[in-house]
Symmetry: C2
């Protein structure tokens, strides 16, 4: 049985690693095989505190974990500035790479990682969990197969989280040498990803940050940002993204098209595991006397036995098995999604750096 | 009994007049007393087709209706270009004015109307029905009294309606000599009004249309528009408005603040009469392991026996009675709301005319 399970190793004991350790063991085709921290003590503590089984290997350095030939996939929840170094090394050691988002500090860095994955024949996947939720699949089906929303005119996406004051002092997400993209990398990555997803991964023509929407700390790290992504090909689409460390939790995605609209308020992390929903208005018109709507918004519920993060792990383990057992090539689709997301995140950053001038792609 | 009812006259037989005729008779303190069209035939046809009682007076000219001393309030569902002429004359004839939105083509025109109302001691109210729904009152209470959302960081408001192709040829809303504000006046008025409402009627500092969001017809009338309204005083707020004749029905209002968020998708016209709802997330945080939300969005339901348009009529009739019976002065609050809305609509229009340059208020 265990030989059919893909062995995962976790490189770094960040908080998000707890969620992934659980996900790796929930996914039916993977198992958590090893964890590593820069100190053996910290890794042991992480294993004990999170009730990991004693059979798990514990390493006191990242290199040792990467040298373990039993490990097939490495999950890297490291500060973004360390992604190139460790993801490239993981690929060179023939490990498939599950890289926490933002994938890299810029597309130049990401390309180094993706090239290492290609030349070593390993799969790359970034940690955008929501793309693996069956709700996302269902929405995609309605958007692209059934065309229930028609052509997309307007997209609104937010990802905000109110953080405690000490976050602004200590957290890696506001440090130039750790996560120089700030809120753009941490939360904006989701908004940009949602817009690209809704446009079936077409890149926008122009990206502009909105002057009043940008707040930075004294080191120049972006703490909140509103930006406009414009599409001119085929059908004109305007997308607004808003990410902030100041507002309360929000993760809205609204897509308005020529035939209907689609709304959800928890697109990044569903309100609860096991079941999620979205609202679909299509076709909705007014009653003749304009006293109400002819068709009310429909609540579309999508159940999922397995949480989205475990489905993400399952997808990567499936691809890893296909490469190993059937000689399949790595799936290009996932690194392409990451690369396009990075290109647009970079463009928002560039627009901010240019005092909110438009950046053409 | 009838002497306690305020007599309304309707000036013009536009489609929206059907809704208001019903509302005037649903409101407990008003009655529809007369209608006028530019031709007696058209006015008679309107009365018959809409089952109005035979007791209603029917006039074949606007002047005759305004000369009827029994009429206390006049509702004007006229093309915007005719507002100044007829609203000023109505005020001069000592009629209270219920003016369909957009109130005027620009604030200069609106000021002529408001000055006529002030100097003649009559009440002014524009036709923004949603401001009179008890759901709006409930949201206001939670926003401003209970402070459940905290300080407002981000507002998103849309008003879109997909119109048939012939609309673009014939409708008054796309004609330079009728409704030169186009979609900005017809639908954008609501979005701007919602932002001002959410900011307790503070004006934004800067208004900018977003280049890719603007579509005009060959006559230069705006058919779709996305714009950004920025607030810098006290607390930085970014508001995005989007109005369009191309997208399917949407009327979203989302308010995200430091303590929570508030969402509704039918703010202009509720899905149905009798009951409406909005979603409130406050306080919503993630569970420690980030697998879900600690508090789900709460659905707040607000019942209303009387439809919002009848509540609007009721408010105006109440004010008219106060002026007549108790010698109260007209309520300044309503014309101020209209005037601020007009100022911001004008600023969006100006930004569009300046190739989307920012307009400072």
């Amino acid at each position: 049985m265990a030989e059919n399970l893909v062995n995962f190793g976790i490189l770094g004991c960040a908080k998000i690693a707890i969620k992934l350790a659980r996900a790796i063991n929930l996914a039916p085709n993977s198992i958590l095989y090893a964890i590593a921290s820069r100190s053996l003590e910290k890794a042991k503590q992480f294993a004990t505190q999170n009730g990991l089984p004693e059979t798990i290997k514990i390493y006191g350095s990242y290199e040792e974990l990467l040298d373990d030939p039993s490990i097939e996939v490495v999950y890297l929840p490291l500060p973004t500035s360390l992604h190139v170094q460790w993801a490239v090394l993981a690929a060179q050691k023939k490990k498939h790479v599950l890289l926490e988002k933002p994938a890299a500090l810029d597309v130049g860095d990401l390309d180094k990682i993706l090239e290492a994955c290609v030349s070593n024949g390993v799969q790359f996947l970034d940690g955008s969990m929501w793309l693996h939720h069956p709700r996302t699949m269902k929405m995609k089906e309605l958007l692209f197969d059934s065309n229930l929303v028609g052509q997309v005119d307007f997209i609104h996406s937010t990802s905000t989280a109110k953080v405690p004051p000490e976050f602004f002092e200590n957290n890696i997400r506001v440090k130039q040498d750790m996560d120089a993209l700030g809120v753009l990398g941490d939360l904006g990555w989701y908004c940009v990803g949602a817009v690209l997803w809704a446009k079936n991964y077409r890149l926008p023509n122009v990206v502009s940050a909105l002057p009043a929407g940008v707040t930075k700390n004294s080191a120049g790290i972006v703490l909140s940002c509103t930006a406009c992504l414009n599409y001119d090909q085929d059908h004109k689409t305007v997308a607004i993204i808003h990410c902030s460390f100041f507002s309360y939790t929000s993760m809205d995605l609204s897509i308005t098209g020529t035939q209907g609209s689609l709304h959800l308020k928890d697109f990044v992390i569903p309100y609860q595991e096991g079941s999620a929903f979205f609202d679909l208005a299509s076709p909705a018109t007014f009653m003749d006397d304009q006293t109400g709507w002819n068709v009310k918004t429909e609540k579309v519920v999508v159940d999922n036995e397995t949480p989205q993060e475990a489905l993400m792990v399952q997808e990567l383990a499936r691809l890893a098995q296909g490469i190993k057992k059937c000689g399949f090539p790595p799936d290009n689709r996932w690194p392409e999604i990451s690369r396009k997301t990075q290109i647009v995140v970079d463009a928002v950053k560039k627009s901010i750096d240019l005092d909110c001038k438009p950046v053409y792609l």
